[in-house]
Symmetry: C2
Subunit: 196 residues, 2 copies
DNA sequence: CGGTTCCTTGAGGATGATCAACGAGGGTGG
DNA sequence: CCACCCTCGTTGATCATCCTCAAGGAACCG
């Protein structure tokens, strides 16, 4: 949890509900609000001319997202949509920055959060450049598994298309990688569900 | 300039000289020091099994680099080498974190710096995924030009190989892209030097 | 000059993208 | 319960393109 919900509300934040696929903000818009998820999940992504998408990040319960532009007066580098139905807390940029001034501990936690994000993005770039599709998919699976904290085989709760968007590949390629990985027991596929 | 040099020295920092191509730290090493450049430039990169390299960032005069792992107790996600002969100020992790505690303004400036870095990395990912080589190269050129602040045609001070490492392409591909771009006047090539 | 480093070109091959078509499953309404 | 629809998964054929490998040329520097 980034910022205490009650604190946010006491500074005038409001909670807003979004339906799956509803847009929260668009690439190149000015950043006016701090966003924090109460429930559900949010996807930030870029899409190019041909409609191909690249997922920059997926944010869940308690996460905040889209903060960097608030600090540096920049436009959003990506679009944010509700990945599931969700409830989001919004607070104006000014109030958010005031909170950081007021509570040094919160500011510090954001510094750590930003550092964590850089680390994640650096790793993502590293894997993506390494263009072998299987490599990219494995990197994605490992990241997911690490975040899940589970050591057993886990169900990967994403569609092939979603994984394609995460890895910058095409659906068909992802499918072919998975059938190959299944054949050599690197993943297990049961009823089309992927376990890793 | 990130942190005042005199302040750094007063906290026990030392200046160290590195020759071009000398390694400052390696990928997967523990982060023990804060690094700030007095003179010269430093390249952070990953390299894969086949020796192909991907440049994560190039840092110049006054820049600091390799900070994120200091905040989150992580290993370095990339290797740092001197891109030119350079003089680097090193300060132990603990002292660095103490300075941040002591000077809230400095802490705040690092928060902004980290936000800036995320923004840059998000943009880089966006361009790289868009796999058309010319697109990638143009994105690189634009980033460089924007940083240079010059509106006239500028000399691109990098070799084809270096640009290949920045964009995740191969030298030959970069060369072919440039000859094509030269043909349709998107860049100017004089004596093998690239102007954009 | 002789040796580096960098640039350039061509031919060939590998592979991921694209296109098209179909199958499978799940949910809804009649 | 069945028919329909919609989303997701799957497969094969073909294509475009970047990588690979190999060789040679150009610039620069001692």
């Amino acid at each position: 949890m980034q910022i205490d919900v009650d604190l946010l509300f006491s500074w005038g934040a409001i909670a807003k509900k979004y339906k799956r696929n509803e847009v929260l903000f668009n690439e190149n818009e000015l950043a006016l609000f701090y966003y924090q998820i109460m429930e559900g999940s949010v996807r930030m992504f870029n899409s190019n001319d041909e409609g191909k998408e690249f997922t920059q990040g997926l944010f869940c319960n308690g996460d905040s997202f889209g903060e960097p532009p608030l600090f540096i007066d920049e436009k959003y580098p990506a679009t944010a949509v509700a990945f599931n139905d969700c409830t989001i807390i919004k607070l104006s940029k000014e109030k958010f920055l005031n909170i950081l001034e007021e509570y040094p501990l919160i500011q510090k936690s954001f510094l750590n959060l930003m550092a964590q994000r850089i680390h994640t993005k650096a790793n993502t770039s590293k894997e993506i450049i390494n263009q072998k599709p299987e490599y990219r998919v494995l990197a994605f699976l490992n990241t997911f598994k690490k975040k899940s904290g589970c050591t057993e085989k886990v169900l990967i709760p994403y569609t092939r298309q979603e994984i394609a968007n995460f890895t910058g590949l095409r659906v068909e390629t992802v499918i072919r990688v998975f059938t190959k990985m299944n054949a050599c027991n690197k993943v297990e596929i049961i009823h089309h569900k992927i376990y890793y």
